[in-house]
Amino acid sequence: MRLTKKERLCNALCAAASILAFLGIWQLATMYSRLGELIPSPIQVLQYLFTVEKIGRKTFIQHSLVSLSRVLIAYSVACVVGVTLGLLMGWYPKIKAIFMPLFNIIRPIPPIAWTSLAILWFGLGEMPKWFIIFIAAFCNVVINAFDGARSVDMKLVGCAKMLGARDNQIFTRIVLPASVPYIFAGMQIALSNSWAAVVAAEMIRASEGLGWVIVTGMSVNNMKQIFAGIVMIGVIGLLLSVIMRTLEGRLLRWNRSGI
């Protein structure tokens, strides 16, 4: 559904008003009640976000970037591998017969359950974090690409054959593009999953990153640090999903009804 300019402006104003009101009440509550002894005010949190003081080895912003880059690397790999496997399983019954049982065993295991194994296998570097993020993103991507490939309109396949397309061309030129809406839906869920997974993985075993910042904040009883970590997780998560939606809008112009 397309909104008019006026409706969009109105929605944006509503969103801004509700966020500002929330922050305002929070600020006033910390200033004029005993809540201030328990939690920091939004202004203090905001100042903390841009502090140049190092927490451990890095500043706060640098920690955020560490987490973000971990996600982007592992998530990209998961998308490429997952889409390929999902489409192949969805389109070729033999590939499905081989990989589906294995995949069905792995799928219900929550990514965080792999942490201990990942650390034992890959040590303490970046690899175990990548592995956990990969697992968190992978399953959603596979399942959605799989559904996409299975719901390809057979009329279009017949039509492509009549026009002279060979079997491998049917896969790349019909099955793949027809599945893109499904793939995107999977990639969006996968992105928020992997963002959640990186924080969890860093909380268990890491020496940098947002998860580590929060856990350290807890052990030194620094409320500002914990709040800043949580706020940053929310902000980055929001930005990532906005970017994904914009990208989807661009790539799926054909999927919208009427422009």
């Binding site: 309109d153 039509c159 492509a160 054959k161 009549m162 061309q169 112009r253 054909w254 999927n255 919208r256």
Partner: protein, 257 residues
């Protein structure tokens, strides 16, 4: 421009039958269907709903294999889909993620034609169907009639010997339907091809055809054949038009009883 009539048969289909086997036993959908079509002839296959018209087209085009009999098109036996045979569907079946240009040029591109060449060819047929200026539009931005034009241009772009049209205007509103009937004749006059046009609309059949093949109910075989030699463009209320229309319709009604 005087068209030289080539008398050779481009489609020769002899004794085609098709049976489907399901849990209730064997169902014969097509029964000993024979058809000969001359080059550049406009043949309309007319039959009641659910009489196996689509199955018949699938057999002729090679999407399905007949139980018995064979079809020879342009000297080659039909064994599977072939870009020599173009198809236009009722539901248009355009690729929604491709623009008009992408859809029309699909055939030449998958067959490895060079860009300069397929672009030239696609532009020619986009122009032929009257869609200049819409090259970059996606199918969901077009009206039903325009989508059907894209479907026709796409089928033409492979420069097939034979065009199969499977109730191509069935989903269009009456007004657009009349317009498209005139358009398909104009396109066909401009770029002559052998056309097999399937319809369940008697007016459409009489308006378009050089020859009408009337099908029986299931199992399908040829019930009657009419050569229509009225000059084009034909008039829907011409006495001869009305006579043919009621004669062929009467044939069907008896058949339904």
């Amino acid at each position: 421009m005087e068209q030289v009539r080539d008398l050779k048969n481009i489609i020769e289909c002899t004794g085609i039958s098709k049976e489907f086997i399901n849990e209730r036993g064997t169902t014969r959908v097509v029964d000993h269907f024979d058809l000969k079509v001359k080059e550049n002839e406009f043949v309309v296959i007319f039959g009641p709903g659910q009489c196996g018209k689509t199955t018949l087209l699938n057999l002729l085009s090679g999407l399905e294999t007949p139980t018995t009999g064979e079809t020879v098109i342009n000297g080659k036996k039909v064994t599977g889909p072939d870009p020599e045979r173009g198809f236009v569907y009722q539901t248009t079946a355009l690729f929604p993620w491709l623009t008009v240009m992408g859809n029309v040029s699909f055939g030449p591109r998958v067959q490895g034609m060079k860009k300069a060449e397929w672009e030239k060819r696609a532009n020619k047929y986009i122009k032929l169907v009257g869609l200049e200026g819409f090259e970059k539009s996606f199918p969901n931005q077009l009206s039903g009639g325009m989508r059907q034009r894209v479907g026709i241009a796409r089928a033409y772009c492979n420069e097939p010997k034979v065009l199969f049209l499977d109730e191509p205007f069935g989903h269009l509103d009456a007004q657009t339907r009349y317009l498209m009937q005139e358009e398909i004749l104009r396109i066909w006059e401009q770029e002559k091809r052998t056309v097999l046009f399937v319809t369940n609309n008697i007016e459409e059949a009489v308006y378009l055809a050089d020859r009408i093949i009337v099908l029986s109910n299931c199992p399908t075989h040829v019930k009657a054949e009419y050569v229509i030699d009225m000059p084009r463009p034909r008039n829907y209320v011409d006495p001869e038009f009305l006579r043919l229309r009621s004669e062929i319709t009467g044939l069907l009604d008896k058949n339904m009883e």
